[in-house]
Symmetry: C3
Subunit: 363 residues, 3 copies
């Protein structure tokens, strides 16, 4: 697909300059750009790259002298990062799958698919599943019994949706993700070592061998509109009620959401985040990569964590957190600085003790 600079600018709500009838067929970093590419030079430091590449047109920073940069056409946008969204949506070549229902897909007679739904090769759609208009169920996907997926879904290859999962509109899931596995919940006939340890913080008393009995998951998973799920994630079913994910929340790869968890709207959960059972997370929360959150706690709205943060207790709304254990970011930054001077601190105190002892003797 090719678009003119004018068309692209219009679709982005941005201003176009110069030869706006120039056609481009892709985007590229400035130094890699060929004559058919729109170069992305949204900051002055990309100017040198433009000279190395062969772009005739570019998206440039506000105030750039695009003619001096050797360009024939330019697009200027007020918020360049936001322009990336429209540009990449326009030029996305997609996965190249055939539309329609592949004859090798196994679709239960009672499943209810909107007329324009596509189902890829070797996908399985279970008893009573419902799939909304315009959705694509990718190759080798699985949609379980009585699951409901809204309109405009796009499931990449090998996504698994368990029985009775409810998903809103415009759901996107990357390959291998699992929604609706059983919760991890076990109990012992007698009070377990873990319960005792939690109660006493350390004294385990009689640690006799104990076997675990399963608590089955009777709930399922409810997911709002405009949610995205990364590759190889897992979202567990609730025990009695559903595990819930709000509207607009985006989840990266290899993220684990435990049973009974409630996640609000418009959150970002980055790669390898884990959220243990029954924890509640507010709206607009951002958890950086490898953040872990304990079970049965509460994280308020607008909380942000830094990479690797381990959250062991509740966090009030609006806090920025970092570290193990999670503390306010400025506290952890101080602690991290302290680490580098810790050896010296021990030496100073040791020295002080000697000095003070001596001066006391002198006195």
């Amino acid at each position: 697909m090719a678009y003119t600079i004018e068309q692209i600018a219009a679709s982005l709500g941005a201003r176009a300059f110069g030869e706006t009838t120039l056609e481009i067929s892709g985007v590229a970093e400035p130094a890699d750009a060929g004559p058919q590419d729109l170069a992305l030079a949204m900051k002055p430091e990309y100017a040198a790259g433009l000279a190395q590449g062969a772009a005739r047109a570019a998206v440039v920073w506000d105030g750039a002298d695009w003619q001096a940069l050797g360009l024939e056409a330019a697009i200027v946008a007020p918020r360049p990062r936001y322009v990336m969204s429209g540009l990449t949506a326009l030029l996305d070549p997609g996965q190249g799958w055939d539309a329609g229902i592949h004859p090798s897909a196994v679709i239960h007679a009672t499943a209810d698919l909107a007329p324009d739904v596509s189902v890829g090769p070797l996908a399985v759609i279970g008893r009573g599943a419902r799939i909304g208009a315009g959705s694509t169920i990718g190759p080798q996907c699985f949609v379980g019994a009585d699951a409901r997926i809204g309109a405009g879904a796009f499931l990449r290859e090998g996504v698994r949706i368990g029985a009775r999962v409810q998903i809103g509109d415009r759901f996107i899931a990357q390959p291998g993700s699992v929604v609706g596995g059983d919760g991890f919940s076990y109990v012992t006939p007698e009070t377990s070592n873990v319960e005792q340890a939690r109660a006493t913080l350390g004294d385990m008393g009689d640690t006799s061998a104990q076997s675990w009995t399963r608590i089955h998951s009777l709930g399922s998973v409810s997911i709002g509109d405009d949610v995205e799920l990364g590759a190889n994630c897992t979202v567990d079913r609730g025990t009695i009620r559903d595990t819930r994910i709000g509207h607009g929340t985006k989840i990266d790869n290899l993220v684990m959401i435990g049973h009974n968890v409630i996640i609000g709207n418009d959150c970002l959960l980055c790669g390898l985040v884990g959220i243990a059972g029954s924890t509640r997370i507010g709206n607009n929360v951002v958890l950086a990569g490898k953040t872990g959150v304990s079970d049965n706690i509460f994280i308020g709205d607008n909380v942000i964590t830094g990479g690797g943060t381990i959250v062991l207790s509740n966090i009030p709304s609006g806090r920025m957190m970092l570290g193990y254990p999670a503390m306010k970011m400025e506290t952890t930054v101080e602690v991290f600085k302290g680490f580098r001077r810790l050896k010296r601190l021990f030496e100073d105190v040791s020295e002080l003790k000697k000095t003070v002892t001596q001066s006391n003797h002198k006195t």
Copy 2:
């Protein structure tokens, strides 16, 4: 399915009171319960919820005045958490899959399945695989050559069992889990940087480029009875002998078990736990979410770790551990307290140094 209060109480070994012929068809949290639901009100704090909901019957705490709570019937159990196990097993609606062998499954002529085994659509059963009575192999599962799965297994969609893996009875695996991937084991023709670093802790000498040669995994994986495996886990094959998981061990989602690892009986491994190659773990060990364990070490019986613990060396039996590096829980709790006062400590020492220098000068 509907059960009377009397039937439910009998199946749980609990006492029933009031209108024990009342039929219920599901369970619910007290505030969400409809008139057909058994409300779960096992602690006094749920009393208010009962008033909000419409439950006519509930499981209540020992000593509750169930009539005053507006209930027509009640079940009282000595250990409410344990009751959850029986209740949820009784009321589990399952995955809604058809029984029998789906015609789209690809089953090798030499595979040996007990007569009542179910195999879902598009599953693959390899050469010489054996599957015991009453087992269900879910949709799109894979069972490799000469693998053996015992009686009563339940494999959710897309589980992969590699060649020669041996699994006991009543195995449960959640979607996307992998048993029997190759171990991560490589060697360089000369002593590698890593070996040298381990030997000298830091001095890497000549760090010339080195390529890695694969050590193949000749062993497989042996798993005991009553083991459960979460979604998207990975359990690697052993190098010479099998990687081993004991009876009754339960493993949560996205857990990684490295090659040659030996795990005992009745352990709980929570989400995103990783256990590196050749490490041995005792019986009744509980590793909380995101715990990591180094290779080639030993963890004794009844050890419990807290969330995010990184274990870098052996742990004797019975210890409760927390932190990075893993230390006794009470030590780490002190360290975590210290973090919050660390900035002040540096200031105090700085102040002391000034004071002591001055008083020495005065003297």
Copy 3:
């Protein structure tokens, strides 16, 4: 398959002694070895094991008196660990899959497979995909549109390769791994809380609710020769250009490689490692299990991290790093020692403060 001691020694470039026509059919640990097994007794501490087992032949340490150990034949190798590579390659029984193209595989008419490629049951090969000579695409694998896989690949069951991914020769991937999921990249119309937090480190100003708009991934993934990928890994596509992995790099299970990441040659990435978007990693880098690396940073050649390291900023070449935050290994080792004495340090300083105050008063 059986080999003589002589054949094995020759294939390993090692020396053989004694009854070198003895045939062996497997390898085993010394105590487990039967008369058909080659025992692996590469260190003197395995001598006792040999006496317990029934091995007639063994690989022994340099200088071992193999006859005194009761063996009829022995192989001596200069670097025993390296011998493991050749031995296990020779004796690997493989996965037991049938060669050829299984009739249940769904292969697009436009896909281009070398004549000797094997494709397992229920695999899907997409439009325009190309697969090189001698490659095996395992059961239930997916290869997307216009993807290219070189010669000699071995894809275990359920591997997913997205559209336009380019992979070199001799690629090995374990079950369930995903190459070519979409990058995790979103933007808000206004400056987001996260951007603001990064800029101000803590002051979030007006934290009004914001929704996330997707930045599509137009790039794909490029992987060099001799790369291996563990089970259930995820490698994301780049935004504009490809995410890249160099030659000879080996990646363990459940590893996440974010969008736009560039990884050099001959790296080892152990289990549960996560590398956030746009980070660059040099050659011969070894990241131990559970290492996390922030986005948009740089790690130099020959860097080694210890288990659980969280890398928040650039690392120069040749460094050994450990801890959260990542610091030089010797610094972190000192910090870890300090943790154990931290409570005592607080007490010492408290005591000093009292003493100094008193002596000041006395003076």
